[in-house]
Symmetry: C2
Subunit: 330 residues, 2 copies
Amino acid sequence: MMDKIGIIGGGAWGTALAQVLSRGGRDVTLWAREPDVVSSINGQNENVVFLPSVKLDKKLQATGDLEAMAKNDILLLVTPTQFIRATLEQMKDIGNKPLVICSKGVEIGTGLLPSQIVESVTPGTRIAILTGPTFAAEAAKGLPFAVTIAAKDIHFAEALQKSLSTKNFRLYASDDIIGAQLGGAIKNVIAIACGIVHGKKLGENARAALIARGLAEIGTLCEAMGGERETLMGLCGIGDLTLTCSSMQSRNFSLGAALGEGKSADEILGARKSVTEGVFTAKSATALAKKYKIQMPITQGVDAVLNHGMNVDEAIEALLSRPSAHEIPQ
Amino acid sequence: MMDKIGIIGGGAWGTALAQVLSRGGRDVTLWAREPDVVSSINGQNENVVFLPSVKLDKKLQATGDLEAMAKNDILLLVTPTQFIRATLEQMKDIGNKPLVICSKGVEIGTGLLPSQIVESVTPGTRIAILTGPTFAAEAAKGLPFAVTIAAKDIHFAEALQKSLSTKNFRLYASDDIIGAQLGGAIKNVIAIACGIVHGKKLGENARAALIARGLAEIGTLCEAMGGERETLMGLCGIGDLTLTCSSMQSRNFSLGAALGEGKSADEILGARKSVTEGVFTAKSATALAKKYKIQMPITQGVDAVLNHGMNVDEAIEALLSRPSAHEIPQ
């Protein structure tokens, strides 16, 4: 039995996963960097900072002691991608416990995926990836949701299916950790493009086409990096992409919408306190496309608009006037 | 050059395609079964019956003479799937012209896809499939859209890319006509399931999960019928599915939403004049699943609710309590 679960990261998603698993009968401890998160969970059964208005399970415990987390049977890593390295370095010894990475993104500077960061800091750790279409508030409220659980060894992924699933939380196993990570990392760039189409009132056909073509170019990067294109047909790929590209709740989609309406990126981003991840991912994914010598026209177009001053209309024109292509790039 | 294009079928989508191609400089003739469609297009440059409020290109001609359509270089077949057989039988000789099938669905009774109907009525005809996320009104207004063009011979598909594309209309080539047809045929069943989730307020995570799992089961049927799962990553698959499953404009999605809110299927369908295609497709796709001995749990659940009196809550419960599975079914 692997009943003691440690969640590393007390943001909205970490707290939601802690709540789901605690309600599902597991013994859950949540580590948070912020003392007020720890005290509000332990004192009021609520994460007033990152997931307000959701009453948490009374059994759920929070702690500020990172090293003590190694006592758990399984660890879920739910920090922002840019904090994975520092968190693991601070933790030093995770006691050879399975580490389920729930963070999505690409490390700025290195261009590494979360699993590659972990491999570089704590080599030898048994790694799995948990990712999919997951608005934290919905999951925390007990609504049903489903994710991909990926590990190089499919039997490890299958064991985690049993260890983590609850009545309303389903996990689908995969053995492709590259594909599983790329969907969640790059969807935010495609969401910006979909927002632009929305802001420019180009219609639902065009938005759906961008989702499909966006999936195709994530697939091309996936194959170049050693993953399988098919993995992106799952919850980690099309599931996450369709959610992010359809929701005005997404900061990336709404950034694109404002760009499409004629605002400038500086104007929009200057007024925001929180990070709009797709801006950085457009840059790092474009760098990956260059490294692997592949075409990612939507990603490259978003990067050109955000980071190189290209006009939105020019970017759309460039996309529409590309040469005819095959459905699945050869 | 293949500039003379005949469109067979004067519904909203046939009229929109005629408009797009006529504006794109082709010599287009539209055949419609209904005399008032023919007269309103020729007299008022508008299809007042099926695509009102869109001013059509003056060069666009309509006709009621089906046999004369064989004089065109390319024919686009845009009748409802259930009328393909009768239309082709009435036409008798299509003069060995390439036939681009734009109809989506499964023939009731036979369980045949459109290409299989054509092969049975006019064997030897060169066939292609044109399908994707396409709201007719948007395309007719000149907004950009993109589709899959599939033919067994990829060079034929590539030739059609050149013959049909316009400034705002892009075609992506594929050589898998089975995969290309299944997405458009079965999406309506998944849309009913997504509607149910919406009506029961189960959240966006659950809807996105159904889209991804729906794509997985369409892929399983596709492989069983000799197509390729990957084809469904394209415009014909995820493109069309994401559009239909996100829009309250879809009759199938809205049927599901009403079911989720507690209305009965008889009550909802009895009040409708137009056909809700997913009701029939749920039945025919379930028959195909049985024939090919595969699992299609979402499709089978929708069929059970619509055609065998299963309670909506029971169907959801059955989906959630299935055994753990792999992301891509083995």
